[in-house]
Symmetry: C2
Subunit: 452 residues, 2 copies
Amino acid sequence: MAVGKPGMRRASERPIPDDELTAADLREIWSILSLDEKVQGFRVLPREEAEALLFSLTNSDLTKLVLALKPSDRRYWIRLLPPDDIADLIQSSPAEEREGLLGLLDERARHEVNALLAYSEDEAGGLMNPRYARVRPDMTIDEAVSYLRKLARQSLGTFSYAYVLDEQQKLLGVISLRELFVSGGDRTVRDAMQTGLVTLQEDVPQEQVSRIFAETDLVAIPVVDAEGRMKGVVTVDDIVDVVQEEATEDIQKFGGMEALDAPYLATGFFEMVKKRGGVLAVLFLGEMLTATAMSHYEDEIARAVILALFVPLIISSGGNSGSQASTLVIRAMALGEVELRDVFRVLRREIGAGFAMGGGLALIGFTRVVVWQQIWPIYGKHYLLVATSVALSLVGVVMFGTVTGGLLPFVLKRVGLDPASSSAPFVATIVDVAGLVIYFTVASAVLHGTML
Amino acid sequence: MAVGKPGMRRASERPIPDDELTAADLREIWSILSLDEKVQGFRVLPREEAEALLFSLTNSDLTKLVLALKPSDRRYWIRLLPPDDIADLIQSSPAEEREGLLGLLDERARHEVNALLAYSEDEAGGLMNPRYARVRPDMTIDEAVSYLRKLARQSLGTFSYAYVLDEQQKLLGVISLRELFVSGGDRTVRDAMQTGLVTLQEDVPQEQVSRIFAETDLVAIPVVDAEGRMKGVVTVDDIVDVVQEEATEDIQKFGGMEALDAPYLATGFFEMVKKRGGVLAVLFLGEMLTATAMSHYEDEIARAVILALFVPLIISSGGNSGSQASTLVIRAMALGEVELRDVFRVLRREIGAGFAMGGGLALIGFTRVVVWQQIWPIYGKHYLLVATSVALSLVGVVMFGTVTGGLLPFVLKRVGLDPASSSAPFVATIVDVAGLVIYFTVASAVLHGTML
């Protein structure tokens, strides 16, 4: 939602009877209603409540609801939305509906929405509201105030800043409503405005936009084109949704699947299975290499079956340490805390962490084998050598995990792939296969001449 | 940062020479500077730049910087911060510094900060700014305007709304600066204000606060106590940081570690190893059960070594499907999309998804064994039975993974644990151990009388 809305749910002062359906009631059960029930519920809401509900829906819910309304209702409700929300709605509607939706708008809104549709939904241009208050630098403050008063009376939205543009629409500065409110008088806008603004180019991706908002704590950032002409404003309230969405996508990618684009329970069963099953199959194909690797050690296993017992323990330790490292590095990259040039600092840290943590696990593992042997003597007379093999392998496998998990995101980013969506499968496969090789190599060396 | 800052980086109109250090320059290299270098850099910045830098730092960076300044500088800079930021700073300072920092404030700020320190940092009361504009309901609009003009001239912050309170400090409604700006005249504030506000109780946790902002698209929400008395305002620009932080914490927990409370490269090595190593050791202890489980099947492995080859493949498939399901459900819980009462809907979906995806992997696995056998005949004459064991186990293990991954977050939430931090270890251990049991049970049944 691009237009800052004040802290109220209802614009009316009409008292609401206790038994009347409110937007909050309907939202509460929204996710479990069928589309028909949603439309019905929406239609019985009092007008202000319906409006509140409309503004609180996510883009995908909003689109479904608007498309399910009668044409006459559709026109009424769509015209209440700000242009950037209409553009989002049209972008997520089926191609054959788009012309019709555009046709419901008045001339000005249609023009604005068409301009926004030229941007991708996930860049600054697609997030911005093209409606904002503009003033000329040579107006006096009094002139600006009386002009903005007129504008505010006509316009639906609220605004807190007026942007100062020259004749070529180039952005010169900004003046806050508060400053106008306080100052007054016949100084010119140019004298009172603030300069040196943070601006966004139209095609800055939304991850970066949200990072800039988080870093600068600004509430509104103007969007300009390559020539410095102002195109619109992105406000911080839009960014909260962006940050939530981006985080959800990243989390789902870390969980080893494609991002769902919609809430879990609202995603169709087959769509969900496709997005999860695809990645699961890729991981499975990668993991098949473990069967190939294991078959190289068939002889060793036949001679010392005991070695097989520790396979799951050892490869899961490598996998866990690898997923810790890749999660940390990918998230830090997404937040801009780690850049490509930091690769050697990360490498140093991960070697150190792998060594320390691998050493810790080795100690636990060694102790486990020795203690067990005292109670249930199943590891045979060479149990100390078995314990040593397990311990040494753990150091190697955990270090391999942290280093691979830490470096792979750099490699993927360097070649232009998205680290978040590709690291998990690669790390899992590489670390599991390498873990087996490390384990059996170490065991062969340690047990040579005794058990092998 | 609680005070909405307008879209400018520099408040001054002084032209900046090209070679002068700016806040942006310093921020760029901030993470790689030592604390001494940070202080030095901060001190050579022009005053407005230093101010911009200060406002852009995260709470932990801000605290370190302020504590490293000379006492006289400290007093100057801390007094520029809004009370909620000062409270955060004090909360993250060592206990012995806190009195001293409070002593640097003027009487009014000290009073406000003390009130805020009574709240936990991660609830609405700890996020709010106690300074806001308040008006009485029976003022005329003209009176309110002239009162607010005076207030705006004195105060450092900006504000977009004035809150209407009665004599008991109870919140009656809100009026926007824009409305005052447009209306004027001698209507009373009561007639012009908007009612039916969304409010927050002081102790609402910050996850829920950010959810309410995301759902309602409000820019500011007043905080009230149990009696409806207004305590402060939470603004949306603070929430962007909260959402980022919460997402990072959740992602790190999903990655199988404790949340680092600071950026990756800024976290001390030993602190990081502690937070990762602790969880890694817990996972390792859990995974030790796999060695115990495997030892029960030592005889089967000795007789049919070939069974061991598929162990990593099968348990990793269970682990991957389990981590997909738990990631989806936990994130959906965090966003409020899934509640405890949805448990049966989730169960149905996950049984279906597990069956479909397990079936897909079974098909791939079966084909793999059969095709390999034609090229490298290493699986012996009973290869079709081996392929059948692998395929049937995959269906069972993947279904077990999705169901466990989908349900465990409900169980953990029900008993009051945080699903995000506890699911990964539990799911991994349960699914790996159960996967081994399923695999060897299926294989024993299928291969009975032939290979076993």
